[in-house]
Subunit: 395 residues, 2 copies
């Protein structure tokens, strides 16, 4: 018999995906120029030419049997070393190749990392607003996800609530900075305080509490922003990265899990991830992709458009009257709705005008909405009068 659990889920589509599909439908009705899709985080700038050249050269010069052959279970050794070297160079860490596990994007990294440290009867804490896919990632391990309410004044951490929720069943804490959907980067002060609490609770509970850091937006930080490398502040940590956003390669599914060399059982965790792959049928990412990434390990696309878009949109929207914590990274911002019901605001008001934006309820932060501004600047310019009309309609 087919699984009722997954069968029933097919009715419950991701809200973000629903908005995306709706935007295509609306474009068919109104014409594509009358629909402004701010619903999805698909990077809008091309991968560096260097990457394309690296791929082309690998195809032209490498022995195809080797190039496309099985990558070792724990990843291409040269790729692992290259990632470790880059992290050490940039963040003063001491990773070795054996601490790096190449994965299918951040989704793969998070699923492996969470299975390493959490299971049945465990709790994983995360902070609102948060990426809704954390629910299946955590549920898939057997553990339960609990969400610390947002500090909507700054979108840093609500420490009061966090400490209340730090019970002995907490096996791991999952953070995402720079954050989707708020666009906010956790400060060094935030990370230090978080680390301090975790260390205290580890002693109190008598077991490790792992800090899993979801970092696909690490390189998307605006000028002069304090952006600490989290793993330098807390030993029992696993960094989960994806090249999707920094190199505009989301479809190629390439990222990694980096185990803090100072973590308890650091020598086991990558080997454990190799075992976990066997149960999920996941295996390594594409072998040519691993090799090509080596050539652009310290590069990014031209990410400046995201900062320009953020500036333009933030200034225009706040002038209109929207309340927004100014984003300092990613390509998202998370304004407050002028009415409490973000669903009404997004699904009715905005939709009528051809604006596709996502209600904060999906990120467990009602009363807010997410704008993805990885779009041409011109589209933002055209959409601003619509955001004004929308505001005036509801205010």
């Amino acid at each position: 018999m087919i699984s009722q659990f997954y069968k029933e889920m097919t009715g419950k589509e991701s809200v973000i995906r629903k908005f995306f599909d709706y935007s295509r439908q609306r474009a068919a009705e109104l014409g594509p120029d009358s629909v402004f899709n701010f619903s999805i985080g698909n990077p809008s700038v091309p991968v560096p030419q260097k990457f394309t050249d690296a791929m082309t050269e690998l195809l032209a010069t490498e022995d195809p049997v080797k190039l496309h052959g099985y990558s070792p279970t724990l990843g291409q050794p040269t790729t692992k070393q290259c990632i470790a070297d880059s992290l050490n160079r940039r963040f003063g860490m001491n990773y070795e190749a054996r601490h790096i596990f190449p994965t299918s994007g951040a989704a793969g990294a998070l699923s492996h990392a969470l299975r390493c440290v959490a299971g049945q009867n465990d709790t994983v804490l995360t902070f609102a607003p948060y990426f809704p896919e954390y629910v299946p990632y955590v549920t898939g391990t057997g553990a339960q996800l609990r969400v610390v309410p947002a500090d909507t004044s700054s979108f840093q951490i609500n420490f009061e609530k966090f400490e209340e929720m730090m019970t002995p069943s907490v096996a791991a804490v999952l953070i995402n900075s720079p954050n989707n959907p708020s666009g906010i980067v956790y400060t060094t002060e935030t990370i230090k305080r978080l680390a301090e609490i975790l260390r205290t609770k580890e002693k109190e509970f008598g077991h490790e509490i792992f800090l899993i850091t979801d970092e696909p937006y690490r390189e998307l930080v605006f000028s002069n922003v304090d952006s600490p490398f989290v793993s330098s502040y807390y030993d029992n940590s696993i960094c989960c990265y994806s090249f999707s956003k920094s190199l505009s390669l989301p479809g190629e599914r390439i990222g990694y899990m980096a185990v803090n060399p100072k973590a308890k059982d650091a020598d086991y965790l990558v080997n454990m991830a190799g075992q976990i792959s066997r149960f999920t049928g996941h295996n390594c990412p594409s072998s040519i992709m691993q090799l090509a990434i080596e050539k652009v390990i310290d590069d990014t696309c031209d990410l400046s458009i995201y900062e320009r878009n953020a500036e333009l949109l933030y200034n225009a929207l706040t002038e209109i009257g929207y309340e927004i914590v100014k984003p300092n990274g990613t390509f998202y911002m998370f304004p407050k709705c002028p009415i409490p019901d973000a669903n009404e605001f997004c699904w009715k008001g905005a939709r009528e005008l051809g604006l596709i934006i996502v209600p904060g309820d999906s990120f467990e932060c009602p009363g807010y909405f997410r704008i993805s501004y990885c779009v041409p600047t011109e589209m933002i310019e055209k959409a601003i009068p619509l955001f004004e009309k929308l505001y005036n309609f509801y205010k």
Copy 2:
């Protein structure tokens, strides 16, 4: 705390992998020309130039933002259609794009297919000799794998034992033809009889029993061999395929799950697979890889070397005295050991001589050993005297 389950597994390496690692060590000791590694199924012929050209052209001509952008959750529509068309053309089926789910190789396909139809308290049956990774694939769903003993006279199905083991908890039956490790293709007669029993038991038990077919070796069938397309004989079936072996692309992790259009709930299964991916963190295979595959959908590498190697090795070994069911596909054969203890035979006798072969115990078929002959023909020629020495030592 880290997961004890996965931590303990890190001690239990795959036997095949152990032999592979050992062969490298032995090559360092004896020199590479004195070690004959017949332990691993890494294809030895290059991918068709057409594939390399397709990749190069995609890189040169496509908009990189689109080319490397997110593939839809259920796979690239053109790739899905192309796979469906090819299967329909070749096997007279009626797949539509919506029945096809691109995956990370056969491992990804099997993990999704099994999660669709089996879970806690269910049993999945498979047939010895079988690919040992079926254990984690099935265990990962929550179900239990039970193994029908081999029919060592032909390596077709041991129907007597199979019928005995067909209890109401059986949710799925998993077959692999052409078979790793036996090299045997199930005949039309075998498949018809299997399908008949499954239909009878479905009626008797009052629930569907899904047939999951693991087909990475589908194209590796020797001349004039009866090789039925299993899904044409049984409606509740899911075909799991990988391009790893037919196109020599194992490292690129590209394959698919094809849901029989006549299966119960056929319209749900691919959508369910999309949901399953969220829990395993798997997502689609690489987007450029999906697109490139379209250009070589009906092609294979030059697979003739495998048949030549099989012929040469089979003739030589049977002449020496080995008992072998003659393989008619794949790049494996599975001779009987001249002594009952295949571990002694492989780990001691063969190893001493520099022959790296895998004991049948790993495939739940003791007393046999697997030879992977996806190697240069010259290596086989050189190894034959060693196989003779080995036989004479033990006989």
